[in-house]
C-alpha cells in the first residue's frame, strides 16, 4: 500500500488514545488527597486566602467541569499555568524538553552502537566464553538500578578521581566565557555547529556519565534482542540457501541474516526510546540534569495538576510518535508490508 495511506492509518489512532490518556491522568491526579490550594498558599495563609486561591484556580468546581475546562484549553494549545513555578506549562515544557531529548538520544545511540555488534558476536559464538560473558553483562546491565550506578559513578569518577563533573549540563564558569548559542536546545549540536570548542568539551563531559548510566538498560536489552532474533533467523531455511550458494559466512550473517533479525529489534528500540524518555527522571535527579523528567517528578510530588497533565501528555505523545516511527520503519524493512493490502498490527 502507499506510504501516505499507511501513515494516515497509524495517525488515526493517536487522537483517541491521547484522549483516553488525558482522562486517566486527570482522574488519577484528582484522586490525590490533599488540597493543592493549601500547598500553593503555603503554611501561613489564612482560610480566606486559601479560598480565594481555590476560586482563582477553579479548584472548587465539580470534577468533570474542571476536566472540560482544561481539555478545551488544551485543544486550544494552552496547557495552563504551573501551580508551582507560576510559569505557563507550555513554556516550561519547551525549556526543559531539549535537555531530556539530548540525554535520551545520546544514551540510545550508545546502546545501539555497542549493543547490536555485541549481540551479533554473542549469536555467532553461542555458548562459548564470549557469548556467556556478553549474556551475563547484558543481564547485569538490566539488573542494576540506574540510580545506584549513577551514584557509584559519581563517587568514583566525580568525587574521588575528579575526572568528570557530577552535576548539571554545563559548568557556569565555562558558559560565562563561552556562551552557548541556543539554536536547537541540544547543546552538543549547538556548540559543534557554532564552533564553540570549549563549550563542546564541557557539555560532552557533563553528558557522559548520565548518558552511560541511562544507556545500560537499553544496551542490555538490545544485545539480548539482537542475539535471540539473530539465532532465530539463523535457523531459517534461507540461510541454508545462502550458505549453500557459497556466500561467505560474514556476508550471510551481516547482509542476509541481520536484516531479518533487525525487524523485531527495531520494535524494542522504538519502545525503549519512549520508555527512556519517560523513565529518565531517576537519572536526571541523581545528576541534577535539568530535563522534563526532573520537572515532571517535582510536579507530581507538589500536586501541580496542570503540570502533571502537561507532562503526561507530552510523554504519551512522544511514546506514540515513537511507535509510529517504528511502524513506519517496518514499511522499509519488511517488503511484505509495502506490498500487502492491510497490515495487521
Amino acid at each position: 500500500m502507499r506510504f501516505w495511506s499507511y501513515l494516515l492509518q497509524r495517525l488515526g489512532f493517536v487522537v483517541p488514545i491521547l484522549f483516553l490518556v488525558t482522562v486517566i491522568v486527570f482522574v488519577i491526579s484528582h484522586v490525590i488527597p490533599g488540597d493543592p490550594a493549601h500547598v500553593i498558599a503555603g503554611m501561613y495563609a489564612s482560610e480566606a486566602q486559601v479560598h480565594t486561591l481555590r476560586q482563582e484556580f477553579g479548584l472548587d468546581r465539580p470534577l468533570w467541569e474542571q476536566y472540560w475546562i482544561s481539555f478545551r484549553r488544551m485543544v486550544a494549545g494552552d496547557l495552563g499555568t504551573s501551580l508551582y513555578t507560576k510559569r505557563p506549562v507550555l513554556s516550561d515544557l519547551i525549556t526543559y524538553f531539549p535537555a531530556t531529548l539530548e540525554l535520551t538520544t545520546f544514551a540510545m545511540l550508545l546502546a545501539i552502537v555497542f549493543g547490536i555488534p555485541l549481540g551479533v558476536i554473542s549469536a555467532r559464538r553461542t555458548n562459548q566464553a564470549a557469548d556467556q560473558a556478553t549474556r551475563f553483562s547484558s543481564l547485569a546491565g538490566l539488573s542494576m538500578p540506574a540510580f545506584w550506578v549513577g551514584l557509584l559513578l559519581q563517587i568514583l569518577l566525580g568525587f574521588s578521581w575528579g575526572l568528570l563533573p557530577t552535576r548539571g549540563r554545563v559548568d557556569s564558569l565555562v558558559t560565562l566565557d563561552h556562551p552557548i548559542r541556543q539554536l536547537t536546545g541540544i547543546y552538543l549540536f549547538d556548540t559543534l555547529v557554532t564552533g564553540n570548542w570549549a563549550g563542546f568539551k564541557d557539555v560532552a563531559g557533563h553528558i557522559l556519565m548520565p548518558g552511560v548510566v541511562l544507556a545500560l538498560g537499553p544496551l542490555g536489552l538490545i544485545v539480548r534482542m539482537t542475539r535471540s532474533s539473530l539465532l532465530d533467523v539463523l535457523r531459517e531455511e534461507y540461510i541454508k540457501t545462502a550458505r549453500g550458494a557459497g556466500l561467505p559466512e560474514n556476508r550471510v550473517i551481516y547482509r542476509h541474516a541481520l536484516r531479518n533479525a533487525l525487524i523485531p529489534t527495531v520494535t524494542v528500540i522504538g519502545s525503549m526510546y519512549g520508555f527512556l524518555l519517560g523513565g529518565s527522571f531517576v537519572v536526571e535527579s541523581v545528576f541534577d540534569w535539568p530535563g522534563i523528567g526532573l520537572w515532571g517528578v517535582n510536579a507530581i510530588l507538589n500536586l501541580d495538576f496542570p503540570a502533571i497533565i502537561g507532562a503526561t501528555l507530552l510523554y504519551s505523545l512522544l511514546r506514540i510518535v515513537c511507535n509510529i516511527v517504528v511502524d513506519l520503519s517496518y514499511y522499509f524493512l519488511d517488503p511484505q508490508i509495502k506490498l500487502a493490502g492491510k497490515y495487521e498490527g
Binding site: F13, P16, I17, L20, V21, I24, V25, I28, S29, V31, I32, P33, N127, Q132, R135, F136, L139, A140, L142, S143, M144, P145, A146, F147, W148, V149, L151, L152, Q154, I155, G158, F159, S160, G274, F275, L277, G278, G279, F281, V282, S285, V286, G296, V297, I300, L301, L303, I308, A311, T312, Y315, S316, R319, I320
Partner: protein, 303 residues
C-alpha cells in the same frame, strides 16, 4: 502364535504417559542446569529465600531493622562490629539489608501476582471474544501503556498516600497491560486450534473454554514472562522508594536506604554502595532464572 496381549489398562496408559513426561522433564532439567548462568540465578534466588527466612538468626543486630536508633554510632564506616557500616541513625546496615530481603521478596511477588490477576483475565477475554470488546480492552491497555510505566506508577503512588503497599499497587496498575498483551497473543493463536473447535462443537460454555482449555496452555508463557518481570518489579519499587513515594522510613527497603544515603555523599560511601549491591544481585538472580526458564520453555512452545 503367542496369546494376544491384554489391552492396556488405564493405569498402564497413565504410567506410560507419566514416564514420557518424566523423560521430558529430565531433558529439560539437564538443559536448564547446563547453563552456568542459569544455575547461578537459581543459586542466588535460593540464597535470597534462605536469608529472608533466617533473618532473625543471621542479622547481627536484628532490632536495627525496626525503629531502634543508636545515634552515638551514626555513619560509622565498615568495621568488625558493623561489617557494612552504620546508617544515619546508627543502625547496622548489614542487618537492615538482611531484613530487607523479606520486603523485597514480598514486593516482587505481590506486584507480579497483582499484575497477573488484572492482566491475564483481561487479555484472555480480549483474545477470545475478539471484535469490539477486544478493541476496547486493547485501546485501554494502549492508553495505560503510553504513559511511561515509571511515571504512571509514580503518579498513582503519589495519589494514594506514599507507602510501600500503595507503591506495589501503583506498579501493578502500570504493568498489567504487558501481561494482557502476551496472554491475548497466545489466546489468539490457540483459539483457532482444533481442540477448541471440538469443544465448541460439543457445546461447552464459553467461559469454561477460556478457563479450562485455553488458559492452561498459556501457563508456560505466562510463567516465563512473570519470571522475567519480577526483577523489574523490584527495580521499579526501589526507584519509587528512592524518589520518596514508595517505602517510607523506617522500613529497611533498599531503595529507601539509597535515597537517604545519597545525602551523605561522598564521604559516606558505604551507605549507598551496599544496599545497591543487594538490589543488583537480587534482580540479577531473578533475571538469570527467568532467562533460563525461557530457554527451556520457549522452544517447546514454538514447536
Amino acid at each position: 502364535m503367542d496369546a494376544p496381549t491384554p489391552a492396556p489398562t488405564w493405569l498402564d496408559q497413565w504410567w506410560v504417559g507419566q514416564a514420557a513426561r518424566l523423560q521430558g522433564y529430565r531433558f529439560a532439567l539437564r538443559r536448564f542446569l547446563a547453563s552456568p548462568l542459569t544455575v547461578t540465578g537459581v543459586a542466588v534466588i535460593i540464597l535470597l529465600f534462605l536469608v529472608a527466612a533466617a533473618a532473625p538468626v543471621l542479622a547481627p543486630y536484628p532490632e536495627d531493622a525496626g525503629t531502634t536508633t543508636h545515634l552515638a554510632q551514626r555513619l560509622q564506616p565498615p568495621s568488625r562490629a558493623h561489617l557494612l557500616g552504620t546508617d544515619d541513625l546508627g543502625r547496622d546496615i548489614l542487618s537492615r539489608i538482611i531484613y530487607g530481603t523479606r520486603l523485597t521478596i514480598q514486593i516482587g511477588f505481590v506486584v507480579t501476582v497483582l499484575s497477573l490477576v488484572i492482566g491475564v483475565p483481561i487479555g484472555a477475554i480480549a483474545g477470545f471474544l475478539g471484535g469490539k470488546i477486544d478493541e476496547a480492552l486493547m485501546r485501554t491497555a494502549d492508553a495505560f501503556q503510553s504513559i511511561p510505566p515509571l511515571i504512571l506508577a509514580l503518579a498513582v503512588a503519589a495519589a494514594l498516600r506514599p507507602s510501600i503497599t500503595n507503591a506495589m499497587i501503583a506498579i501493578s496498575v502500570a504493568w498489567w497491560p504487558w501481561y494482557s498483551r502476551v496472554v491475548r497473543g497466545q489466546v489468539l493463536s490457540l483459539r483457532e486450534r482444533t481442540f477448541v473447535e471440538a469443544a465448541r462443537c460439543v457445546g461447552v460454555q464459553r467461559r469454561r473454554i477460556i478457563f479450562s482449555h485455553i488458559l492452561p496452555n498459556c501457563f508456560s508463557i505466562i510463567l516465563v514472562q512473570a519470571s522475567l518481570q519480577v526483577g523489574n518489579a523490584i527495580l521499579t519499587a526501589a526507584a519509587l522508594s528512592f524518589v520518596g513515594v514508595g517505602a517510607q522510613p523506617p522500613l529497611p527497603e533498599w531503595g529507601l536506604m539509597l535515597s537517604v544515603g545519597r545525602g551523605f555523599l561522598p564521604e559516606v560511601w558505604w551507605f549507598v554502595t551496599f544496599p545497591g549491591i543487594a538490589i543488583f544481585i537480587t534482580v540479577l538472580g531473578f533475571n538469570l532464572l527467568g532467562d533460563g526458564l525461557r530457554d527451556i520453555l520457549d522452544p517447546r512452545l514454538r514447536r
